[in-house]
């Protein structure tokens, strides 16, 4: 029925099945939009945030999603700037992941602020000392870039391609894409960093405060590293997931392994840097501000285990798995490691946003807890549903994985067979 929209030679499920797949997500999106609408119309009293927990689920979501979406810029960087041509196989997918992640984050930010109508004030009266200004500027710019990078993928659609003007525009746009990739990389480096700086600069929050290198706190660089590290992992993960759901081979195993290797390499560097940073913080930064770091880990449930999980369980282990060719070769381990890495960055963002606010600062402060309201959760789910929907439609009607057609010919590699069998069991 919608065959004329599906790229030539790609097998896609029947329209009915596709509808059955997206319907629940649309329902979820609808629910989320209602929740978000409540927050916009009735105000933020609909949330469980308060004067002490000024940031909640949403900021955590934004930081996480943007970190995971970093695959877009980093893959682009590797492909267009460092000319790793193998990655052409996933760049489209990466761009779309990035686009959904960023647009989702921006949408949630717009709901999170008390006066969305004044969003442009930041551009009109920018306070250049504020990390948030940096974030706002970079994210808006980069979202534009991502949108532009998305355009050619859309124009490649079988039907649109028929229109000569669109075809020509796509062709020309593709020629200058490396410029945008470069700009995108620059922007992403910046705002991934400033997102880290967001909490690193808070001298009033000794748990998050970090000493600066140049004009930025160390978290600035840690965020860049961690984002760059998990970006490819997340692309890997999504690709694998799409392969499982669509029951197709979409990219060569080598590409996935390459992604894993890159991820592992950066993750290793990140783990090192993070360890160093933590040590410096424990032994210098925090005590010098009069806060023995140990006191921050005395509050249940936030014990030292979080540090361990962040650095070893979700950092060192996946890094090792991804860097050891033998382990990487096992599809199962590769994916698991990528998943661990993603969990790691998620946990890190959680610690940065939520734990920081939960911990007391004043001597007579209490340890605070916070559970999001259904409106907050709903909005959160809306972003997830939105992401899934955009990706699903793109996967159906656009040619996300250039290698898909050729891979139909090749027989699946042995360990994948076994993998399939395993999944089958």
């Amino acid at each position: 029925m919608d065959k004329f929209l599906i790229a030539r030679g790609l097998k896609r499920c029947s329209t009915a099945r596709f509808a059955a797949w997206i319907l629940p997500w649309i329902a979820l999106l609808g629910f989320g939009l209602v929740a978000a609408g409540l927050c916009l119309i009735k105000g933020l009293n609909q949330t469980n945030m308060d004067n002490r927990f000024a940031f909640g689920l949403w900021i955590f979501l934004d930081l996480t999603v943007i970190a995971l979406g970093a695959g877009a810029f980093f893959t682009g960087f590797l492909l267009y700037i460092l000319k790793l041509h193998e990655l052409r196989a996933v760049i489209n997918s990466a761009v779309i992941i990035g686009f959904t992640a960023y647009s989702g984050a921006v949408a949630v930010l717009a709901i999170d602020v008390g006066q969305p109508l004044r969003a442009w004030f930041t551009f009109w009266y920018p306070n250049v000392h504020s990390m948030l200004t940096e974030v706002t500027f970079c994210i808006t710019c980069y979202l534009t870039v991502l949108a532009i990078e998305y355009v050619p993928i859309v124009l490649k659609n079988r039907k649109l391609k028929e229109v000569p003007s669109l075809l020509v525009f796509e062709f020309q746009l593709h020629k200058v894409m490396y410029v945008l990739a470069g700009v995108g990389t620059f922007l992403s480096f910046f705002h991934q960093g400033s997102l880290g700086g967001l909490y690193g600069v808070l001298r009033g929050r000794p748990f998050a405060f970090r000493e600066g290198l140049f004009i930025w706190p160390s978290t600035f660089f840690l965020f860049i590293l961690s984002a760059a590290a998990v970006g490819p992992s997340f692309v890997l993960l999504t690709t694998w997931l799409v392969e499982k759901i669509s029951k197709k081979r979409l990219v060569r195993t080598e590409v996935l392994q390459l992604l894993g290797r890159i991820s592992g390499l950066l993750l290793a560097v990140y783990v090192l840097a993070k360890t160093l940073d933590t040590l410096i913080w424990i032994n210098r930064t925090s005590p010098s501000a009069g806060f023995p770091a140990a006191q921050f880990y005395g509050w249940k449930p936030f014990g030292v285990w979080i540090l361990f999980a962040e650095i070893v369980l979700f950092g060192l282990l996946p890094a090792i798995a991804l860097l050891t060719p033998k382990l990487r070769a096992r599809r199962g381990l590769l994916v698991a490691a990528a998943a661990l890495a993603c969990c790691g960055v998620t946990l890190n963002r959680f610690v940065q946003t939520v734990q920081t606010l939960a911990l007391p600062t004043l001597p007579f402060d209490k340890f605070l807890s916070y559970t999001p309201s259904w409106q907050e959760v709903g909005t959160f789910l809306a972003v997830v549903a939105y992401g899934v929907l955009v990706y699903s439609f793109s996967f159906r009607y656009l040619n996300l994985f250039p290698e898909e057609r050729e891979l139909k010919l090749e027989p699946a590699a042995p360990q994948e067979e076994e993998e399939m069998a395993y999944a089958g069991r």
Binding site: L44, D50, G114, R118, S130, V201, A289, P363
Partner: protein
């Protein structure tokens, strides 16, 4: 963002407070007076974490059991940090500023986007968000203070040492002498305090007593609210 209060010119002010914890009986007159002066609505649906109390009296104790337990009340308001003021440099759109003339940290409600980054930045939790539309009991709008504009929903506010009163005092001063008469400019909380625990002054003219301490002084943000107490366990909060 550095404030050179002391080195400043003759008319340069450095407003601050000295709060005698040993005199505070926790009656809350300051909190209510603040709300009256600054047209802060009674947040009917609010709880203690969503309300708006630019000055807020906390009860603290020495952590011991009866009969060794001791308690005290400590009024908390914006501590008017003078050095790398945490909230000023985080605001993305310059809605928070520090007036070099007075050292008062101000919040421009009509500029505020409501991102609440400043609230996350403030170590004293002295900033409050307008979670609800401002509402007063029927007819009570008539009794609002004309010198202060009520804030709309979705913006952050905080203690600004009753800028309405300062402007009134300046108008008065402009009519007569140059400098404003200290008697004309006293924030509502200091004025209302029945036990005289809160003393407001220009720290350039009259420095805080030597035996006073400041909260989280170690952060190095040079707050201008000084606290006093003879009790050691209270001093330990400094």
């Amino acid at each position: 963002m550095r404030l050179r209060g002391a080195q400043g010119g003759a008319r340069m002010k450095r407003y601050g407070m000295t709060i005698d914890i040993d005199r505070c009986n926790g009656c809350g007159a300051c909190m209510v007076a603040c709300a009256v002066e600054n047209n802060i609505p009674p947040e009917i649906e609010a709880d203690e974490r969503k309300g708006i109390t630019p000055i807020r009296v906390y009860q603290i104790d020495n952590g011991e059991e009866q009969p060794n337990r001791r308690t005290a009340f400590i009024p908390m308001l914006c501590q008017q940090c003078g050095e790398d003021t945490p909230c000023v440099h985080v605001c993305p759109q310059q809605a928070v500023d520090i007036d070099p003339e007075t050292g008062i940290v101000g919040q421009m409600a009509e500029r505020c986007l409501g991102c609440r980054y400043c609230m996350a930045a403030c170590p004293y939790h002295a900033r409050y968000f307008n979670w609800w539309d401002p509402k007063w009991p029927a007819g009570m709008e008539a009794s609002l203070n004309p010198n202060v504009a009520p804030r709309q929903r979705g913006v952050v506010e905080k203690c600004n040492f009753c800028h309405g009163r300062r402007h009134a005092a300046m108008e008065k001063a402009a009519a007569g002498r140059k400098d404003i008469d200290p008697a004309d400019y006293v924030p509502a909380c200091a004025e209302a305090c029945p036990s005289g625990a809160i003393r407001f002054s220009d720290l350039n003219a009259q420095a805080a007593p030597a035996d006073s301490f400041r909260l989280l002084e170690k952060l190095g943000t040079e707050p201008k609210i000084y606290y006093r107490s003879k009790k050691d366990w209270v001093k330990r909060n400094g």
